[in-house]
């Protein structure tokens, strides 16, 4: 099987509710050995055995990369999502044996930066937990601006303030506190790199303002975990394997392909890494592209789709799988 990364057999060593929406999960290796070292910004893909179904969701590693006795992830409960976060919250208990992938980093620090300016929104804080731990240990220069809805939903805001004091600045939506983005971006020393992780609207806003204010694209880094969106069911023909499959409302196209026993390569399952890019043989209908990998031209062409996050509505779709 060519898919994904090497797998790690782990056991859930702790489950810690953090606030009303977020729960933290700790994993250790079943054989008692250390886990592989990782770099700040890396994620793992967690395999969930949910009855008949296997869910594969990516989560950022949020522990210190210097401590590989355990991996920790934080999962925000999404009551209207496709069920992965609900499964984690409801079914995962200490002692449960699970499988996670080796770490993969698609949101790496640029080590040439003289300063790392980090902007987080909501649960987008998790990769920065690891990155700040890594930078703090080596005396790196960073500054974190973190927007959350309310103080009680400010996941790890207290921890971060305690660890890094004035290097962390908090903004609460309910108090109408806003990042003064233009001022922030206009007053950074030369050699600063910008990192943003949060909701799509925030990422777009930050990238757009940075571009307008003259930040070179290679100094602006963003992590955009587009969770697959539910949608209308649709049928797909897989031309290479000669199968016709149905994609359910709550299922991604990639999951439906995998459920049929076909294994396209994948890494991020969030429309970013490009691994599962699939050629379209023919179609009659409309694509709902949700990825950040294909160009606009690719999207318009109707020749390619990223099955991890994108969907289709219409009469027929034939893929080269």
């Amino acid at each position: 099987m060519s898919t994904g990364t090497t797998k790690l057999d782990v056991v859930v060593s702790d489950v810690v509710p953090v606030n009303d929406l977020v729960t933290r999960f700790h994993f250790r290796r079943r054989d008692g050995e250390l886990l592989p070292t990782f770099s700040g910004g890396a994620h793992v893909v967690v395999e969930m055995r949910d009855g008949e179904r296997t869910r594969l969701n990516p989560y950022s590693l949020m522990g210190s990369p210097l401590d590989t006795r355990e991996y920790t992830i934080s999962v925000r409960r999404d009551d209207v999502g496709r069920g992965g976060s609900l499964f984690m919250h409801r079914n995962v208990r200490p002692g449960l044996e699970m499988v996670v992938s080796y770490p993969v980093n698609l949101f790496s620090l640029d080590r040439r930066a003289r300063k790392h300016l980090m902007l987080a929104g909501g649960i987008g804080i998790t990769p920065f937990m690891a990155q700040t731990a890594q930078l703090a240990a080596e005396g790196g220069n960073f500054e974190l601006h973190y927007t959350c809805r309310t103080a009680s939903l400010g996941t790890y805001a207290d921890v971060l303030r305690e660890r890094y004091d004035r290097r962390v600045r908090l903004y609460h939506d309910d108090l109408d506190e806003r990042i003064e983005l233009d001022r922030l971006l206009s007053t950074q020393p030369l050699g600063t790199h910008l990192y943003v992780c949060g909701p799509a609207g925030m990422i777009n806003w930050v990238r757009d303002r940075a571009a307008s204010l003259g930040w070179p694209a290679e100094t602006v880094h963003f992590e955009h975990f587009a969770a697959p969106q539910p949608g209308l069911p649709f049928d797909v023909t897989l031309a290479v394997s000669g199968k016709t499959i149905r994609v359910d409302e709550q299922q991604s196209l990639l999951e439906a392909i995998e459920a049929a026993g076909v294994d396209p390569p994948y890494l991020c399952r969030g429309g970013v890494c490009g691994q599962c890019e699939t050629n379209v043989v023919s179609y009659d209908g409309k694509f709902i592209h949700n990825d950040h990998w294909l160009s606009e031209e690719d999207h318009r062409s109707g020749c390619k789709i990223m099955p991890c996050v994108s969907r289709f509505e219409g009469r027929s779709l034939v893929l080269e799988r």
């Binding site: 990364t5 090497t6 592989p36 070292t37 990782f38 770099s39 910004g41 890396a42 990369p65 080796y102 770490p103 993969v104 980093n105 790496s108 620090l109 640029d110 080590r111 040439r112 890594q134 080596e138 290679e218 890494l267 890494c273 490009g274 691994q275």
Partner: protein, 346 residues
Amino acid sequence: MGITFRKETFRDDFTFKNSPEHIRRFPFPFHEDAYMYAVNIEPHVVGPKGSVLENLIDVDEHYVAEMQDRALVLAEDPLRCQSLPHMTLAGWDLLELLMEQQALGYPEHFTLTRDGDRWRWINRPLGIDDTFTFGDTSTLPYGPMEYITRQSQGDFCILDQRDGNLWMDAGMVTTQADWSLDFDIGMNFFEWHAPVPLAHEKGIFVRALKFLTNIQQGKPARRLNWTMTINPRLDTSPENYHKWGPDRATVTPENVGDKVHLRVELQSFWRLPRSNGIVFPIRCYLIKMDELVTQPKWARRLHRVIRDLPDELANYKGLTRYRPALVEWLSKLDDGSATSPGFGPD
């Protein structure tokens, strides 16, 4: 029992030789009777016992002599080893990888003991026993990359990954086939491959980059590359072209067997865990024609490959001048019979 390390030279009197066991384990790079570029990358997994793939980082009978030759090159030209300031963490990643792999594969020669950040490294063939603090450069006599690559066979390029590209931002390069780290340092993947003929048009580098930027931790990959070298000289660098370039005019029908060497590079690619960089070890194996043709299958196949090689490739590999003499010499060992599939000798 361990490896018996040879006393030999890669310069001046050129006493380098392969033992009969090392001839049989030579990584002959042609699986068929012709050669053309391909993205010939495969997973770097452990191979058969007695092959160069028995361990993922191979140590062989030439280890001590190669490390001595490296020290001589560095003494003359310190710029063969460079690491841009943001690459130190990747250097520590490489130090960990090479110490772990060498200790794992050759416990009689290398021992690594760790107590938290406090590490002890014993390298018996080179008489080294150092205790240091992992991550603290002041506790080693050199930077981490230089320290460990003075004790590891092969060249090492450490590539930083950013902006969807790979950047040659650190390396130890003393056994290279006519390229220069000092020239390429800071270049991206397309820039440092710019001189390679034919492959750009075939889109090979675009595909190779896509593959390499997706190399995952715990899943290294490898490929073989090859060229030829006159005399068993490891350091065929542009900086020293004046020393080795003229050697190519010394090949005669009488001395082909002794002077002409097949030079094979076992290149591997590893994701580094802390820095998210990629290390690209380029391990060079040399074998003279007299040694190679002790395996009749290799003699027949090499004759056909060299005879039919496209001129652009022969030129790029620097073979043009002595190719006729080599083909003529090899032709006498090719009776035209079929060769078995695969790389190995019969």
